[in-house]
Amino acid sequence: MKKIKVASETETKRLAEKLAQALRPASVVTLTGDLGVGKTTFTKGFGQGLGVKRTINSPTFTIVKSYSAEIPLHHIDAYRLEDSDEDIGFDEYFTDQAITVVEWPQFIDLFLPEERLEILIERLEDDSRLITLNPIGSYYENVCEELIR
């Protein structure tokens, strides 16, 4: 578990960008945090890191938005799947030659790959953010080690 304090949106983006560049295709990152805490900011930075040129915007309605880039990005928002317990074919996305970012991962817990990088963003009292990286599996542990160094 690694904890990183970031002071601004720019710093959040920069961290996300660095992380995206450190990951290989078929990686899965989950993103948890309250409304307005910076999940979208993080994903925008993450997309920049992958070289996504399009504006990354909300996938809530469509559940998934995919972006082409050198390593493509799947941006999943599972918010509307709270009452659904079906396997909705997520493997297609997770095992693809793309990187997937999942918001509201708790709603698709059953279908997430065992090994993944869990990220929690929290708002601190001074309005800075605490970003917690919880890598599951040796690959993600190494990525986080490299990132912090």
Binding site: L35, T40, T60, F61, T62, I63, R80, G89
Partner: protein, 349 residues
């Protein structure tokens, strides 16, 4: 000697659309005329979840595809042998849903030895208008739906430039979320539109204009403002008139959409403005656009409601442009959830 394509020959395209929750097929003549147009909606089964559920959507597509095709042919009084090309939504959309349409179109094109045409879903929404009125260029399309809010500039057929898009929520998504927090049934857009007519815009919700030069949109702040207003009123025990909340919210969305469309039309000296996507069904938006462009030399087209929501007729209309340009897809074509509109417009296949 092979078949010579004469100028006078009519072209019939069979089109399939399965990118989201509608299983649809259509036969279009010469890109402009609907011969038959069938849509099997899944909206009833998605009501339970307050929206589309991908795997349910895919399964429904598989169940309905053949029925929809049969009905499309029988309504047209045609057989697959009379079809000149098979067009299908290649992306963007849900990969499992898209695959059903792509596989079906591939099988049909292969079996009948006719061209296969992969179409971009948003290009389809834009071309829905050409089933009603011929395009005049330069043309500006305002694309507004649950998943998209974009301004697309076209200098010629089949070429697209995205000059503005939402940075967070799409307009339709904001409608959905606001409707849900007001306790309105799904889909929320039509409900808010209906209520808005009975209410007054006095709650002074924000308008996100962003930078002066920008044609981008942002609806997430507005959505939060409405939800906070509802929340605060509830805590203070104040009963807000739902119709007024709807009217105030709708006025805020419509103001920004209309003003940015108008500015983009002026700045790019367009001759034709068209509206596309599900939110084009919104009566408040239609009325405001008609007023704004009423004294302009710019032509304004808004398709009938049946062509605003997902359908296959629009895919056939867009596919005709690819047909004329010889932009055919090969058998390796796959569902492409990340298909980019500008790249689609520029590609040579």
């Amino acid at each position: 000697m092979g078949e010579v394509m004469s100028q006078n020959k009519e072209t019939y395209i069979l089109a399939i659309e399965t990118s989201c929750d509608e299983t649809a097929a259509a036969i279009i003549k010469d890109g402009r005329e609907i011969i038959s147009n069938v849509v099997a909606s899944q909206i009833e089964s998605h009501k339970r979840f307050g929206g589309v559920v991908p795997e349910i959507a895919s399964r429904h597509h598989v169940e309905q595809m053949i029925n929809v095709l049969e009905e499309t042919f029988s309504k047209a009084g045609m057989t697959a042998d009379e079809i000149d090309a098979f067009a299908v939504t290649e992306g963007p959309g849900l990969v499992g849903a898209l695959l059903v349409g792509v596989s079906t179109a591939k099988a049909l094109a292969f079996a009948h030895d006719k061209p296969l045409i992969g179409v971009h879903h948003i290009a389809g929404h834009i071309y829905a208008n050409r089933l009603i009125e011929e395009f005049q260029f330069p043309l500006l399309a305002l694309v507004v739906s649950g998943g998209h809010t974009e301004l697309v500039l076209m200098q010629e057929h089949g070429q697209f430039e995205v000059i503005g898009e939402t940075r967070d929520d799409a307009a339709g998504e904001a409608y959905d979320k606001v409707a849900r927090s007001m306790g309105l049934p799904y889909p929320g857009g039509p409900e808010i539109d209906r209520l808005a007519k009975q209410g007054e815009d006095h709650l002074d919700f924000p308008r996100a204009w962003l930078e002066d030069e920008s044609f981008d949109f942002s609806f997430s702040g507005l959505k939060s403002a409405v939800i906070n207003t509802l929340h605060n009123a509830k805590q203070k025990g104040i009963e807000l008139e739902k119709a007024d909340v709807a009217a105030s919210f709708q006025a805020s969305v419509v103001d920004v959409l209309v003003e940015k469309t108008y500015r983009a039309a002026q700045e790019n000296k367009v001759r034709h403005v068209i509206v596309a996507g599900g939110v084009a069904a919104n009566s408040g938006l239609r009325q405001a656009l008609e007023e704004k462009f009423s004294d302009q030399p710019i032509k304004l087209s808004i398709p009938p409601l049946s062509l605003c929501t997902d359908n296959a007729a629009m895919i056939g209309a867009a596919g005709m442009i690819d047909y004329q340009k010889g932009n055919f897809s090969d058998w390796a074509m796959n569902a492409n959830p990340a298909l980019d509109l500008e790249i689609y417009g520029n590609r040579q296949r």
